[in-house]
Amino acid sequence: MLGFKAKRAIFSMIAILVAAIWAFPVYWMINSSLLPNVKLESRIPTFWPDGGNLNNYQNVLQKGDFFQALGISAAVTLLAVAGCLIIAFMAALAISRFRFKGRTSFVLTVLIVQMLPAEGMFIAQSQMMSNLGLKNNILGLSLLYMAAVVPFTVWMLRGFVAGVPIELEEAAMVDGLSRAQAFFRITFPLLAPGLVASGVFAFLQCWNEFTVGLVMMTDNANHTLPLWLRAFVQSSATRAIDWGQVMAASTLVAIPVVIFFIIVQGRMTSGLVSGAVKG
C-alpha cells in the first residue's frame, strides 16, 4: 500500500503530463509561427524555436488585409456589444426588480433562445438580410450578433442586478432621492463590474463567431478576423500551405482572446451551471 504522499506525487505527475498534452497544440502554434518554412516543411519537426524569428508575423502584417479584417471585426463587435449591453441591461432590470405578468415566460424564452444553434437558422437569416439589403453589411451582421448574445447577457446581468439589495435604493429614496436618482447614484455604480464582465463575454462571442459571419459576409473585403484566417488557409490550399504564416496569423487572432478569456472565465463556468451546485 502506497503512502498518501507517494500517491499524491504520482497523481501530480499524471496531472502535469495531461496538462502538457492539452497545451501542446497551443505550444505548437506558437513554436511553428516562429520558425522559417524550410524547417517546417522538413520531414523531421523542430520541437524548439531555436534560432526562430518574427519574419512570419512581419509577412502577415504586411499583407494589409489583416488590418482590414481587424477593422471590420472591431466595428461589428463594438456595435453588437454596445447595443447588447443597453438592451440586456434594461431587460435584466425589468426581470430582477419588478414582478409583472409575462415575466416568467420572458425569462424562460431567454433561457431557451440562448441554446438555439446558428446552424439551424443561418440560411433563413442570410436570406432575410439579403432581402433587406443588409448582407455584406457591418450593421446587418452586428444586428444578428446582438440577437445572438442578448439572451446570455440578460441571464448574466440579471444575477448582478439581483445581487444589489433593493433596500439600498429604498434607503436613498427615504433620504429624498427620486427613484431614478437613487438608481443611477446608488445601484448603477455597484453594477459596473457586472456590466464589464457581461460586456467581455459578449465581446468574446462576437469576436470569435464564424458560422453566421460566413453566410453573411460573402465578399472578401468584408471578412471578419475568423473569416480572414479561414480564407488565408484556404487560399493556399491548392499550393503548399505557408504554415509559418498561417500559424503566425492564428497566434495573432488567438492571443488577445485568450488573455481576455482567462481573466473572466470563472464567471462563465458558474453562470452555465448556476444553481446546480448548492449542495
Binding site: 499524491r8 438592451i87 433561457l111 444586428l143 439572451p151 458560422t211 487572432v253 446546480a276
Partner: protein
C-alpha cells in the same frame, strides 16, 4: 417620476398608483430585447418554418410563387438515404463525442482533486488555454498537427514504429476524418466539463468522505455512493450542454472539409445545410427545423434542471 412622488412614497413605498406606473415601465424596459430577438431570431425561424412546407428552390429566388407541398420535404429527409445518413451520422457523432468528453472531463476533475496544488494549477491553466482558443485558430493548428507530409503526429507515430502512418492522409476516408474531428471536438470541450465537475467536487465536504473512510468505505465506494450523488446535478447539466453544443459542430467540419473532401460522405447536418443553402431552401428549412426541434427537446431538460434549483 418626479421627486414629489418619491417623497410621497416614503410613507408607504408600494402604494397603488406608484405600483401601476412601475409595472408599466417594467414592461417598457423589455421592448428593445423582444424587438431584437424577434428580428434576429424569431422572424427567420418562423419564415423558415413556413417555407419548410413549400417547394422552394432556385426559381423562387427569382420571384416565382412557391408551391405548398406540406410534408414532402420532411418525408424526403426520412426517405432519401443520403440525407437520412447525415442525420444519423450527426446524432451518433454528437452522442459519442459527448460521452467521451464527459468521461475524460470527469476523470480529469478527479485527477485535479487528487493532485498536489502546483500540479493542479498547471493542469487548470493548460485546460483554460485550450478552452480559450478561438475555434478557427484552433482548427488551423489541428490541421497542421495532422498534416500528411510535415505533421508532427504522423512523424511521432512513424517513430513509434507504426510505419503505415508515413504520409498517411487523415482526411481521405470518412472514418479517420470523423475520428480526427471527434478528437478536436473533445479537446475543445473537455476543459469546460472538467472545470465544472471539479467545481462540483469541491462542494463535497471532506468530513463526509473522512467519516466514510473511517467506516471502511473503499475509494470506489466513496466515489460511487457519496461523490457521485452529490455532483449529479452538475453532471446532468454538463451532459445536456455537451449534447446541445455537439449537435452544432459546423466550424470544425467545414474547416476540415476545406483541406480534405467536401462530398456528402464527410457532411454533418450543419455543413449539409450550408452546402444545400437556398438552392433548395424548402429542404434546407425542413432540416433546420429538425435541428432546432432536436435542440429544443434537449434544451427543455436543461431549462427544467435549471429551474429545479433556482427560483427565476
Amino acid at each position: 417620476m418626479t421627486s414629489l412622488d418619491a417623497r410621497a412614497g416614503t410613507v408607504s413605498p408600494s402604494n397603488a398608483p406608484t405600483k401601476r406606473r412601475r409595472k408599466f415601465s417594467a414592461r417598457t424596459l423589455l421592448i428593445p430585447a423582444i424587438a431584437i430577438l424577434l428580428f434576429g431570431l424569431g422572424y427567420p425561424v418562423i419564415w423558415q418554418f413556413f417555407i419548410s412546407f413549400q417547394e422552394w428552390g432556385r426559381p423562387q429566388l427569382f420571384g416565382q410563387p412557391a408551391e405548398w407541398i406540406w410534408l414532402d420535404n420532411y418525408i424526403k429527409i426520412v426517405t432519401d438515404p443520403t440525407i437520412w445518413g447525415i442525420v444519423v451520422r450527426s446524432i451518433v457523432f454528437c452522442a459519442v463525442t459527448s460521452a467521451i468528453t464527459v468521461g475524460i472531463g470527469g476523470l480529469l476533475a478527479l485527477l485535479m482533486k487528487a493532485a498536489g496544488r502546483t500540479a493542479r494549477f498547471i493542469l487548470q491553466l493548460s485546460l483554460l488555454l485550450a478552452w480559450a482558443m478561438p475555434v478557427v485558430a484552433a482548427m488551423t493548428v489541428w490541421i497542421w498537427l495532422f498534416d500528411r507530409r510535415s505533421g508532427v503526429v504522423n512523424y511521432l507515430l512513424v517513430n513509434m514504429g507504426f510505419d503505415q502512418f508515413y504520409l498517411f492522409s487523415w482526411l481521405e476516408s470518412p472514418t479517420t476524418f470523423f475520428g480526427l474531428a471527434a478528437v478536436i471536438v473533445v479537446w475543445m470541450s473537455v476543459p469546460f466539463v472538467a472545470l465544472a465537475i471539479y467545481a462540483g467536487l469541491t462542494q463535497v465536504p471532506d468530513e463526509v468522505l473522512e467519516a466514510a473512510q473511517i467506516d471502511g468505505a473503499s475509494g470506489f465506494k466513496r466515489t460511487r455512493y457519496i461523490i457521485f450523488p452529490m455532483i449529479r446535478p452538475v453532471l446532468n447539466i454538463v451532459i445536456l450542454l455537451q449534447l446541445i453544443w455537439n449537435l452544432r459542430v459546423f466550424t470544425q467540419i467545414k474547416m476540415l472539409q476545406d483541406r480534405g473532401s467536401g462530398t456528402s460522405d464527410y457532411d454533418l447536418l450543419g455543413t449539409f445545410i450550408y452546402k444545400t443553402g437556398v438552392q433548395s431552401f424548402g429542404l434546407t428549412a425542413a432540416l433546420s427545423i429538425f435541428v432546432l426541434g432536436l435542440t429544443i427537446v434537449l434544451t427543455f431538460f436543461y431549462v427544467r434542471s435549471m429551474l429545479k434549483d433556482e427560483a427565476i
